[in-house]
Symmetry: C2
Subunit: 415 residues, 2 copies
């Protein structure tokens, strides 16, 4: 599918065609997209985007890890760069909007600004970040963390994908030879703006077009093991049991109920649970479950964890059972730039867009940049909150509203 750039990017509704076009790279049988880091579909998508950027007369280049940049040169060489964009990679059989929309919206915004106002004072760079999801290799934010200097080759030296391909080989095969690696860290960036689908149902439920993200939540993940005693389901009276399933159920009921008491914005999820031996007529001897906890204030997460883990220990102790709790993820909350949020809010009001402030419960590249530069994260609605699925959908009207806001926002920041 060929895209005729110049005129079309300026037309209302063109965003829909571009979403479909980008989704054609890595399209799945289910109508979803699989575009894993450094895969052939990923390479095709990045080079196709580079083509579009070239047609737009942006200065285009890849950095050493495969982040693609399209630069609209600023007239004042003393001013730093406004970076805007999102990530090109997807989960397996993911949706067409996650990441892709942020890149396309930035391209369209840059095209419209240039068409209307010419070159900006500050350089605007549209970035198609190489990796955010962690769906091929077990690490996330490879693109943004290279730009901020948080990551370099050390983090991926011994990393393999699910098929045993090493990170470094995959990188080399995609044309980014690790032997020529120099950190692509950037010191010339003033701020970062990302627009993304919400991946939740808050905007839809509240009938808003735009979410102005004030914080990206911190996340902790734990693995909880409940040790009971495997016994015969018929011959063991209830009072003699150490039933790992019924005990784990009580812990899960407790932790779920406790979220409300601590803070209604706190979320806690037991998404994975396994039982041993997992046989209908045997009292379970062991249950292992994961616990994913998120909130935008570290102290709330801390308080919640203390309260539930104390109760876990008290409760299992009273049953003469054991519980073990191990943490395997700890990500701090990140605050988006307040001044930028205020600016986005003023624009939304001027343009009569239905908006609200909100917290992002999902992780985004904006949290990597947000620790270092002033950063904004803007959301458009996700229908039914569905994401990471071929059913991901945002209406054309909402996509356009997001681009409208982003365009004006970049104008205020760069012109």
């Amino acid at each position: 599918m060929a895209i005729q750039v110049n005129k079309q990017l300026l037309e209302k509704g063109q965003v829909g065609a571009m979403i479909e076009w980008l989704a054609s790279f890595g399209q799945t049988e289910n109508g979803g997209v699989t575009r894993l880091l450094y895969s052939p579909a990923w390479q095709e998508a990045q080079y196709a985007l580079k083509n579009i950027m070239d047609q737009m007369k942006l200065d285009t280049y890849f950095d050493r890890v495969g982040n693609l940049f399209g630069r609209l040169q600023g007239t004042n060489p003393n001013l730093k760069t406004i970076l805007t964009g999102s990530h090109i990679d997807t989960v397996v059989d993911g949706g067409k909007y996650d990441g892709a929309y942020g890149i396309i919206a930035s391209l369209i915004a840059a095209a419209r600004l240039f068409n209307q106002y010419g070159y900006p004072k500050k350089t605007i760079e549209v970035v198609s970040l190489c990796e955010e999801e962690g769906s091929r290799f077990p690490l996330t934010f490879w693109g943004s963390r290279n730009i901020t200097g948080d990551y370099n080759l050390v983090q991926v030296e011994n990393v393999l994908d699910g098929e045993g391909v090493s990170f470094l080989d995959a990188m080399k095969n995609a044309g980014f030879d690790p032997d020529t690696y120099v950190s692509p860290v950037r010191h010339d960036i003033e701020r970062f703006v990302e627009i993304h689908i919400e991946q939740g149902m808050v905007l839809e439920k509240n009938e808003k077009q735009i979410g102005l993200v004030t914080h990206i939540v911190g996340q902790r993940r734990y693995s909880i093991q409940v040790y009971g005693e495997s016994n015969h389901a018929g011959t063991t009276p209830m009072q003699y049991r150490k039933d790992a399933v019924s005990t784990a159920s009580q812990l899960i009921s407790f932790l779920t109920k406790k979220t409300e008491e601590v803070d209604t914005r706190l979320v806690a999820t037991v998404g994975k649970l396994t039982v041993k031996p997992n046989v209908p007529n045997v009292v379970a001897g062991k249950v292992e479950f994961t616990l994913d906890i998120r909130h935008h204030e570290e102290k709330v997460i801390e308080q919640y964890c203390n309260e539930i883990f104390n109760e876990f220990k008290r409760f299992t102790n009273a049953l003469d059972m054991e519980v073990s709790i191990s943490q395997w993820m700890d990500v701090m909350p990140v605050r988006m730039d307040e001044q930028m949020t205020l600016l986005a809010k003023e624009i939304a009001e001027e343009r009569k867009l239905l908006y609200q402030e909100m917290i992002s419960g999902a992780g985004h590249d904006a949290q990597v940049f947000g620790k270092i530069y002033p950063t904004s994260l803007l959301f458009v609605p996700s229908q039914k909150g569905i994401s990471h699925s071929p059913c991901e959908l945002t209406s054309l009207k909402d996509l356009e509203a997001g681009i409208d806001l982003l365009t004006e926002f970049l104008y205020k920041l760069a012109y």
Copy 2:
């Protein structure tokens, strides 16, 4: 290993050697026993037992499905037969005592009775039932249900084992050709006595040597499906969730607590539970779990099921979620013969055995016979309640106490 029968069966402690001897057929690496219906190990064990019975001068024969009988002829041909024994088959890597003890104890009792008193008035038959566990083919009580006429070839026509071998082929290869099948139903049996290990920890906790079983519990098994909505663990606020894991946890906590309220002798077990999609950062869309419910009174089971299932529906309804409940097992409780229990109790008291009345939470051949003839089920303790495991153990003292009671019991019934 050869067993010298006549003298040795009369000696105290010989039961231990016989348990070891029988466990040598189908011995596993872990020190357990695997003796699946119609397997080579099963055939060897049945023919070895037949040999012992032959040496004891019992009249021995197999019926058409492989139940082995050793007959000590009664002097009064008008009286019906006292049947005693248990099953020869085991679970995979099971223990040495489950089933085997009941056969050996019956043989030793018959030998001692004949040695001391000669021929009984009523015929005593020791039976080594071919199948009870359901561990090779998905059906149970094949031996006893053929004797009672509940089962015939119809029930096994299309039944396969885990390796795809048909029941009928396995039967034929073991020397029991289905083409010559005639129902081995017996109409000459007056009553049945089975002695078995408890497979629970009640006798041990109460420091008793003998359990006089008054009832064998009824069992119902259900499959419960909780349908929620799979969602992003970060972007879905708690109040918008339909979390199948947390909902299932509340149902399980409820059903566990409810057992106490209904009857402390009721047991309810969720032994198997699976989550979909079972991913740490995804709110689960579906949970399926099994529920095994046992009590010795059908009306208690009925009341309990009504109460919990009504609550399951009310609870999920209030969350705008769905629950489906399907039953896949329904076994009625069976009462053991009261007069026989009274007789066993008198004997236990005379012989100063530490005993108690109790309910069997596990299924036994006695429940098949107990629906048709007056039947007794006697228990000896299982150390730590362990069963269906190579660690199954009953002390020699307890094994002998059981044989002591059984011998006197058969004397009172047949002489």
